[in-house]
């Protein structure tokens, strides 16, 4: 009565006894059971699976891309200037800042946390860069000795906080930045100044992460406090109503305002699009050959082709001369575009191909399970906050470049809220565990497109801008919430 239990409802008659505890041998009979994994998946199966996933709450990037396309169509019908070459370049530059900050926020949102201070932190980081350059590499002169010492002590504390969690990359960046700042090593160089800003971002994030992960203060409160705090720090750095001019620094100015030479634009196009197609196609073929779960080749090729066409149109348009003065041609894609794509590729790699990224998703999905699996949760949390503020610094630099100066309220106002909205519109969940680096790019373009498109319609009042952005965000958030509910319902 106790031992005869082979009544597995799902078992086929061929079930045989299990191969004993060793599981390394490839069992032959059971191959047929994971039908969707082995062998080639037909497109129809894939679409059915995809639909099942959507109903289970995994909507992916499609709604956001569709939203972007719909908005683009509406605006191009409403105003013939929308698709003009000039406006497209403008759109890319406008999207840049939001995209960079949102890309960092994705990491924090994946954990189910929030960083409200990313906007003002971006201003502080940019100010460190600007002040250093304006004062010929001497930040001490700019800030005065007491403030300068406080900054250095803050960097040291941040390095200790990161070291406490064995985040050696962060420690390295902060220490190198701090030493260069303290001893004024090469700080007149613009690249070094940019690095200092990024190092400040990593330091700020390490401290935020320490307060959240080690001390255990809710991230909402920590970053709300820091949101106010960094505003004060920025005011102290720059002075009320003042601004640091940055347009005279050619490299920094070029980030948003400079353009890639047209030929190099095509080279970058081939590198990114060709690389993407080569990577996805070889991956699919390899996985199919190894009889692992793979996407249908047709789908991969279609996706690659769409990307190639859209990319080619964008590059071709951006390479046209958009200067009203024929003697001074302005042509080529703004540098922010390849920078955006490169960072997206990098962070996508981090999220999907190494352990750290896997743990970021795991913490957002079920922190307790991740802890039991032996993962140091506070280390992952601290790293995500460091990445968030580091990307905020990049956003701050792009903002400084675009404005040509760093005002004393840089990164304040709606900067952070737009970045959060961008991540959410792109498909990142505020509940944690779901999101991609690409969400920041897609969402950032949606967020930039609304004021851009509405600005071309003089008949609409300024209030429409906010209201329409609000509605788009609400729509995106309800897609997220509804898919969550579907997922919960499908799970039982």
């Amino acid at each position: 009565m106790t031992t005869d239990q082979n009544s597995d409802p799902g078992a086929s008659a061929t079930a045989g006894l299990p191969t004993s505890s060793s599981v390394t041998g490839e069992p032959d009979l059971a191959e047929a059971d994971f039908a969707r994994d082995t062998g080639a998946t037909s497109l129809g199966d894939y679409v059915r699976d995809w639909w099942a996933r959507v109903r289970g709450g995994e909507v992916g990037a499609l709604p956001a891309i569709l939203g972007l396309a719909v908005l683009g169509l509406i605006f191009s019908f409403a105003s013939d200037r929308f698709l003009s070459v000039n406006n497209l370049a403008n759109l890319v530059q406008q999207a840049g800042i939001t995209v960079f900050i949102a890309m960092g926020l994705v990491f924090v949102l994946l954990l189910g946390e929030i960083d409200l201070s990313a906007g003002t932190a971006s201003g502080v980081c940019a100010a460190v860069m600007g002040l250093t350059l304006v004062n010929n590499g001497d930040l001490e002169k700019a800030l005065g000795r007491p403030t300068f010492i406080v900054v250095l002590l803050f960097l040291a504390a941040a390095a200790v906080a990161a070291g406490f969690s064995r985040l050696w990359y962060a420690v390295g960046i902060i220490v190198i930045g701090g030493v260069m700042m303290a001893f004024k090593i090469g700080t007149t160089n613009q690249i070094v100044a940019i690095f200092l800003a990024v190092a400040c971002g990593v330091a700020i994030g390490s401290v935020t992460g320490f307060l959240v992960a080690r001390i255990g203060i809710p991230s909402f409160v920590v970053t709300l406090a820091l949101f106010l705090g960094w505003q004060g720090v920025l005011l102290q750095f720059i002075g009320n109503g003042a601004a640091i001019p940055t347009s005279q620094f050619n490299i920094i100015n070029a980030i948003s305002n400079g353009n890639v030479p047209p030929l190099w634009g095509w080279v970058l196009y081939i590198v990114f699009v060709g690389g993407y197609i080569a990577f996805t196609v070889t991956r699919t073929l390899r996985r199919q050959a190894q009889r692992l779960s793979a996407e249908p080749l047709t789908l991969v090729l279609v996706r690659g082709a769409v990307l190639a066409v859209v990319g080619a149109i964008a590059v071709a348009l951006l390479n046209q001369n958009r200067s009203p003065n024929p003697n001074f041609p302005i042509e080529g894609m703004p540098y922010v575009l390849p920078l955006m794509i490169a960072l997206m590729v990098f962070w996508t790699f981090v999220l999907s191909r190494v352990r750290f990224g896997r743990y970021v998703y795991a913490v957002g999905g079920n922190a307790e399970a991740t802890r039991r699996a032996g993962v140091d949760l506070s280390r992952i949390r601290l790293a995500c906050f460091a990445i968030c503020s580091c990307m905020a610094a990049v956003g701050g630099i792009a903002q400084a470049s675009r404005l040509g100066s760093i005002p004393s309220d840089a990164g304040g106002g709606n900067t952070l809220l737009y970045a959060v909205a961008a991540a959410v519109i792109g498909g990142t969940s505020l509940f944690g565990g779901r999101g991609h680096a690409r969400d920041a790019v897609i969402g950032g373009f949606v967020i930039a497109m609304i004021p851009n498109g509405l600005g071309l319609l003089p008949s609409l009042p300024a209030s429409a801008n906010f209201i329409i952005t609000a509605l788009v965000l609400l729509l995106a958030a309800s897609v997220d919430a509804l898919s969550r509910r579907r997922a919960a319902a499908a799970g039982r």
Partner: protein, 261 residues
């Protein structure tokens, strides 16, 4: 079935301050058998499990694994020996797929630190196949899309992925429907048939009598009896749970029970 036990605990005592939770408990797990661990709420089942895997240090007593005395300080030590626990709340990440969950915290890496997805997927699939799990369409399915029984299956498969020798299952069928319970119990049986020592903690007497070979009853922190499942009736087990004794088996003539093993 007189193989020497895989895991043998003798004279285990554990107190939390003034509360003496485990009194001289002897408990053993044999390879190829399902040992049910039953007892009322507060009898000490969970404490015993947590002592096995090192979450709680024991006050006195000896733990032998494969005949050798061992000390387990952390769950990781237990995992290194080959002891795995499947907790009631499963510890799965809903947003990750089956492969990612099974390898969570122990991902295989290629040279250079990249995740070895191909090898992980292959091993996850062959583990599920070796457990004759047939209800999963793809090992790349996200866990949130699985049914309760499938989740339990994934959690159990995760515990046997690492050539573990002893698997402790905490209430694996508590939240499941009839068909899914059958499915999971069949899987529990197959684990034992594959040579593992399985400990099944359960409140459900039907389940216990259906799959287990041996039943260990805890009563107020003492081992009331360890009996072969085929020798007892459901009524006797219930009596052991509620009063610590049933006829001539149970607490008072405890030695009598021990000799039947």
């Amino acid at each position: 079935m007189s193989e020497s036990p895989l895991l043998e605990m003798t004279g285990i005592n554990k107190s939390f301050g003034p509360v003496h939770v485990l009194h001289d408990v002897d408990f053993s797990v044999h390879p190829g058998e399902v040992t049910a661990l039953v007892g009322d709420n507060g009898a000490g089942k969970t404490t015993l499990v947590k002592c096995v895997v090192g979450i709680y240090p024991i006050d006195s007593g000896e733990i032998r694994f494969d005949g050798k005395p061992v000390t387990v300080h952390r769950p990781r030590d237990a995992a290194a020996l080959g002891i795995e626990v499947v907790y009631q709340d499963l510890a799965l990440c809903d947003n990750l797929d089956i492969v990612q969950n099974m390898f969570l915290g122990r991902e295989l890496q290629q040279r250079g630190g990249l995740l070895d997805e191909s090898e992980m997927e292959r091993r996850a699939r062959s583990t599920l196949a070796s457990l004759s799990v047939r209800t999963v369409k793809s090992v790349r399915q996200v866990v949130s899309s699985l049914s309760g029984g499938q989740r339990q299956t994934v959690a159990i498969a995760k515990s046997v992925l690492w050539n573990s020798k002893v698997v402790l299952l905490d209430e694996p069928t508590a939240a499941l429907g009839v068909a899914q319970t059958e499915q999971v119990l069949a899987l529990v049986r197959r684990l034992a048939d594959a040579g593992l020592g399985v400990v099944l903690i359960s409140h459900n007497m039907n389940d216990v009598l259906k799959v287990s070979d041996r039943i260990a009853t805890l009563y107020l922190g003492r081992l009331a009896a360890e009996v072969m499942a085929k020798d007892v009736t459901q009524a006797q087990v219930v009596e052991l749970i509620t009063s610590g004794r049933s006829g001539d088996i149970g607490l008072k003539p405890a030695e009598a029970a021990a000799t039947t093993i």
